[in-house]
């Protein structure tokens, strides 16, 4: 049996069902709408597991599921060395969103990371603490800023309503997911010209195969044939 993890609700689940459906594999929730049980039509030996998109990277890496659909940003954020622990089978063309760094529009002197770094140095001198960037993507943002050589900042955790943290003065800048930038603009923020950390989309991943049975390996091949990936 090959276990396929799919987000358990919302547009991401519906779009995933559509994507598989268009390729001849029917995925559906079984039982009532509130139950997280699923059924698979069009291929034998594949089991649908519905779970939170944020948990799919961990379950894939742990080997509890064999395949999983989740955002490419979540895999990179939640798994150290992600590309050694899971593999991308197919980008799915939906769920697109960019992880970006944004600062107040009032900062007319800041349009690039170079500016952000200089502003952070001055901010630390003036205020006595490092410039705060609110985010829930700690690993991705820290790795990005380290590679880019930005200093004198600190990350503060924000699990929701991140765009509001600047106005509330709990952060000076943010790093968050955006698809249209509308919410950012409404909150008086703008994206840095070179502030794109990762362009994310829903992606089909497989876990590491080292403890798979031959039947599971064969099943994956068969599924890939049907899906054309």
């Amino acid at each position: 049996m090959l276990k396929l993890g799919v987000p358990s609700k919302g547009r991401l689940m519906e779009k995933t069902f559509d994507w598989f459906g268009a390729r001849g594999i029917g995925l559906r929730k079984s039982g009532s709408d509130r139950e997280y049980a699923g059924a698979v039509d069009g291929i034998d030996g594949v089991e649908l597991v519905l779970l939170s998109a944020g948990e799919i990277p961990r379950e894939l890496a742990a080997g509890n599921i064999h395949l999983g659909v989740t955002g490419s940003d979540l895999v990179r954020e939640k798994l150290a060395n992600w590309d050694m622990r899971v593999a991308e089978l197919a980008p799915m063309g939906f769920g697109g969103a960019d992880l970006i760094i944004a600062v107040p529009q009032a900062w007319v002197d800041v349009t690039t990371l170079d500016d952000l770094d200089a502003a952070a140095a001055a901010f630390r001198r003036t205020h006595g603490f490092r410039l705060r960037i609110a985010t829930k993507y700690h690993r991705l943002v820290r790795d990005f800023l380290r590679d880019q050589g930005v200093a004198d900042y600190q990350l503060v955790d924000s699990q929701g309503a991140t765009e509001g943290t600047v106005k509330n003065e709990t952060a000076e800048a943010i790093a968050d997911i955006t698809s249209t930038g509308e919410t950012l603009r409404a909150n008086g923020l703008k994206i840095l010209d070179d502030g794109l950390i990762h362009a994310s989309q829903a992606t089909l991943f497989r876990g590491r195969r080292h403890n798979w049975t031959d039947a599971q390996r064969a099943k994956l091949k068969a599924l890939q044939m049907v899906l054309g990936v």
């Binding site: 009032a106 900062w107 380290r146 880019q148 900042y153």
Partner: protein, 357 residues
């Protein structure tokens, strides 16, 4: 993983060796307050060290090295000169290579002595080399002080020098700054902003702690920078030449003397290197074949600001260094609240050393 009896025995041997050189044996808490390290390293420390929180003491860290607690201990004693040795575990997150140990023993030798920095550098290097005697290792050395002196000697504004010195340890940003300061150009959008009568005409709402005054101050700084002459191409070439040096120490020394003709500001640092090589030769180090790299120590060891060195297993380039060390004068100034004591030290990993026997 529990430390093997052999590693503990080797750690004791090394600590006794350093103690016999007059070093006082000291201990440090495994759990250290995190604020000092966070202040020094910023977010990077979270990727490298294990942070945890205590309900009363706030954020704590499993010690990632002994240097900071040793400096703090020393700054309270006022002893000068002073020598310390210690043996104990340190803890480092390994985010990219799970085969690397995340807890291991370090044995260190630290010298606080402002009388003769060259002799102190040589003393620490020779002590570490003695601890590794007979092992198939090669030493790599460098001197961050030469690069810092070169930056201070650039014919440009103090603001630019400060920006470059701030990024000595971040090669990507350092290079980007050099390029920008050397180009004499700004983007059209930036030019328009600096020329604007009211730069805030298109600005959005004032939100957040960074005030309009702070933005205005930076615009003034940007205007001053745009009015300053670009850093001359010859000077940028000299910095590149220093960073590109990779030769035996005597050959590097003669190359640096040539560079000092065009850049007298590095004269003292070059003389210091000369004195250090003499002191090392006096200690029996084969300086003629000693490797020196102009950019050695610029990544990952942010508090070193002078002599830097590492010992590597000859046949195992993928292994972390068996020993590392360097001078950290600025760290003592930072932790000493105004009182600085020139300091240099090094650590050996007994587990890796044993693996080479």
């Amino acid at each position: 993983m529990p430390t093997s009896p052999e590693t503990l025995k080797e750690a004791r041997r090394l600590r006794d060796l350093f103690a016999a050189k007059g070093a006082q044996v000291i201990k440090a808490d495994v759990l250290q307050p995190a604020d000092t390290l966070l202040d020094l390293y910023g977010e990077d420390i979270r990727a490298r060290a294990y942070l945890t929180s205590d309900p009363l003491r706030g954020e704590m860290v499993l010690r990632p090295d002994f240097t900071v607690p040793v400096v703090q201990m020393h700054m309270q004693t006022h002893a000068d000169p002073a020598r310390y040795t210690y043996a104990g575990k340190v803890f480092r997150k390994q985010e990219t290579d799970e085969t690397r140990a995340n807890e291991y023993v370090q044995v260190g030798y630290e010298v606080f002595d402002g009388q003769n920095p060259a002799a102190a550098d040589a003393e620490v290097f020779a002590a570490i080399a003695e601890g590794l005697a007979g092992l198939p290792v090669r030493a790599a050395t460098g001197d961050i002080g030469v690069l810092m002196a070169a930056v201070r000697g650039l014919r440009t504004t103090d603001a630019r020098k400060a920006a470059l010195l701030r990024h000595i340890w971040r090669p990507v940003r350092f290079r980007a700054l050099m390029k920008r300061f050397g180009s004499g150009k700004v983007t059209p959008a930036r030019e328009a902003l600096l020329a604007a009568d009211d730069p805030f005409a298109q600005a959005g709402p004032d939100i957040g702690l960074r005030s309009r005054n702070e933005v205005a101050d930076r615009i003034a700084a940007l205007r001053a920078d745009a009015a300053a002459d670009p850093i001359a191409a010859e000077e940028i070439a000299l910095i590149d030449a220093i960073l590109g040096l990779r030769e035996t120490a005597p050959n590097v020394l003669s190359a640096l003397r040539d560079i000092a003709v065009d850049m007298p500001a590095i004269g003292d640092a070059v003389a210091g290197m000369d004195a250090r090589l003499d002191a090392m030769a006096d200690k029996g180090v084969d300086v003629g074949s000693l490797e020196f790299e102009g950019s050695y120590g610029r990544t990952s060891l942010e508090y070193y600001d002078g002599f830097v060195f590492g010992f590597y297993a000859k046949d195992r380039p993928e292994q972390p260094p068996v020993a590392t060390g360097g001078r950290y004068d600025a760290l003592t100034a930072h932790l000493g609240q105004g009182r600085a004591v020139p300091a240099v030290g090094g650590v050996i990993r007994p587990d890796l050393a044993l693996g080479l026997r």
